[in-house]
Point group: C2
Chain length 509, copies 2
Amino acid sequence: MFRRKLGTDCLEYTIERKHIAYADIKKSDSEDSSFQIPPKHDLPIYTIEEISKHTNHQERIWVTFQQGVYDITDFIYEHPGGEQILMAAGSAVDPFWMLYSVHLNPHVLDILEKYRIGNLDPNEENDSISDMSDPYANDPKRHSILKPASIKPFNAESPEQLLVENFITPNEIFYVRNHLPVPDIDASTYELEIEIEGKAKTLCLSLEDLKQFPKYTITATVMCAGNRRSEMTKVKPVKGLNWGAAAVGNATWSGASLREVLEKAGLTDVDLDKYKHIQFEAYDTDATGTAYGASIPIWKAVDRRGDVILAYEMNGVPLPRDHGYPVRVIVPGVVGARNVKWLGKIIVSSEESKSHWQQSDYKGFSPSTDWDTVDYSKSPSIQELPVISAICQPVPNTTVKVENGHIKVKGYAWSGGGQDIVRVDVTCDGGKTWHVARFDHHDPQTHPQHWSWTLWSCELPVAQGDKELEIWAKAVDSSYNTQPESFENIWNLRGVLNNAYHRIKVKVE
Amino acid sequence: MFRRKLGTDCLEYTIERKHIAYADIKKSDSEDSSFQIPPKHDLPIYTIEEISKHTNHQERIWVTFQQGVYDITDFIYEHPGGEQILMAAGSAVDPFWMLYSVHLNPHVLDILEKYRIGNLDPNEENDSISDMSDPYANDPKRHSILKPASIKPFNAESPEQLLVENFITPNEIFYVRNHLPVPDIDASTYELEIEIEGKAKTLCLSLEDLKQFPKYTITATVMCAGNRRSEMTKVKPVKGLNWGAAAVGNATWSGASLREVLEKAGLTDVDLDKYKHIQFEAYDTDATGTAYGASIPIWKAVDRRGDVILAYEMNGVPLPRDHGYPVRVIVPGVVGARNVKWLGKIIVSSEESKSHWQQSDYKGFSPSTDWDTVDYSKSPSIQELPVISAICQPVPNTTVKVENGHIKVKGYAWSGGGQDIVRVDVTCDGGKTWHVARFDHHDPQTHPQHWSWTLWSCELPVAQGDKELEIWAKAVDSSYNTQPESFENIWNLRGVLNNAYHRIKVKVE
């Protein structure tokens, strides 16, 4: 059911976003029945595992849409988008239809139904890996489009070129950064505890209790501190997942205001002089039972312009398990690591979280600091992220067709701390000429509450005879901070804060 | 009198800052009589003009301290600080004694008094340029240490190496950025008008009225958008004053809270959805009567963490005329141009200031934008400034003595928007090795209310045989934004936002 509802919701916000502010996107109560795929009881039922084997011409190419299973092998050559469709081979086309909204047309569904061969097993959502001695046995299934940087814990990003197809990143292709196994939480018994240090009484909220608070929806980009690490690694090896430029996504998040929940727990203005941090403890734990944890400064949590929410919905549906089901905190403008998933406890404290991830990870250092000299107590924990941009299309090291003397380049830009993006400059002649990119999607929310990325594009002139180009992009934010030029001088042993100019090489023809 | 009081105040805060938080510095009511220079009625009276002629051995070298005039020609060779003393030749030593607080010792005064030759004319403060057809005729006198970038209007900075001698910049060496003649305002008839657009009644406050509001003191760095422009100019010429790295200073500012004054004028929470900007109009006007003006976003003005004040004191004394006497706005974390001096009117508005300086100046552009293609409406006005640092000692192109295989480098670092400085990296081998600087003065106020610069120093190792070094410095702020490497890729036609790595060359011996 979850899967089917997701399909219709995606449809809804993809269409609606043409008319309304992104932050106002709401899940409608009525569903558009024209995009409901009914079961066909005369056709067989297939499991995801079975479908996943059909990814080439020899085995035939199968895809799913909602509950329908299709053999599209004979359709591929007719597909107007060409071989792009193969990205969904053996898996669901749903996220791609959100990205390429031309599909959201009854006529397209009619074509697809011609290739129907079966129904997706309705029990699939509850399936899990069967070896229960494996702590990751109960991790959820993921869409095959996600490229894993590690399997256990699961960390994955989508191909970069998909990111810029939609202002809102579909849940299925939203990067996943797990530090531990995904906890299996029953929403009906879920509890969130809120403690104010030194006060005897704590507040315990069920999911239903949380839903009684006013519901806020914000659109915010979440990014991993290690996004684009694979570029820094080329200078000198670093420790960490080998992320490309897609450990980032932009989604709508709905839930209760952290500030209002803290007030309910008894936090007063007087307390703000006493406490400095809001700690978060999660339900995911390591083999010793130690929970993931992090903290943010208290001013961010109580600021009316801070927009910190305890989210139970992502893009209009309940949070997917990989993204913190049933409740995570969304701290817009702040590094993903503090946007704690599977939230179990909130502690108002005079101190930062003592967790490994707050104290001994997610910090920046000088390029000359190595593993022999590093002292984690000397650097502040990363909170707001610096200004960054990336080129997502064309894909590096591919061949691009020159049209009317130009090639088209697309990418994203973002800055932490609620900073707006004011300009993206692109060059393909080593900086001799900078072209100002056009903003294709730019949230009208202003600094200091500009939480979403900006999607941009640029037509770059190509000189006759050019065979290869190096394209650079850099963004400027509303405090006129800009990106450092190279990775050499921002290199750090943990490979975080990879915001140097993005530089890619392509062939042109 | 003003001059004399300044001297004693300087003494007071220079001593006090060792014991208390900078932001808490207050002017004491009692004065320390041990540093009062009494008039000597048996000695002649000299004017500043007369004193200013005595700057070399042939004419003799004269200086003043408070109301005393001294011929120090014969003392120079005994001066423990060497020829540094010549920076005060023909002028006042008062600001230097603040910078080098070793002087604040009765024994030093005893030595100085031996060289006493006269008294400073007590009417000097009120003197002005005599040609009344010149709109700048009534500009105040300035200390000769200020190096003018332009005379009319007066714009000047002190030698860079003085900046880092004290966390608090003495008023006399604080850079001056005037756009127009300095208005001559009588504090007893001064009026500040506060208008909320669409409301018939305005609030008018005298200086005494303003002093009835609770008095706040903040320590904040103010910087010109064009600071370090002379480095950008080397890439390609730009329009603007040829500033070095000293168009910046750090001072304590005392006055009323803008937020509280706006509340008194009738601004309510409801209005915050309606209005977006706070405009400031000044008393300085051009030949057509048009006043200097600027605006800031309303959120900054009303935010409890914004710390915007209507200042009537600078470093514990009434604002000097060059710094906005009797009232200026201090918008900490925001470019100097919005810290409007000689404040005449505040307008709560749905729009930005229409002034030239808000609309058609103080904006950033792409390196490829030139005077033929620039469209000022396309860029946002500069508000928060990006992270910056500068090397202040040694002075570029001088010879530095190597001691124990090292040379000492000192400088400042700062970032707008209340960002803290978390690290300064220094290199003298082109970035192969980065040395983390020590923080000599670092305000404990945390982000987002960290308003003061950080003064840093670093001992750089020098290899035997090195004759010349190129030293680079870069700072990292609390959002881990860092400086761009070079001016080539941040060049802009107006020469603002000059925050590339600071690079200087020195000879070593």
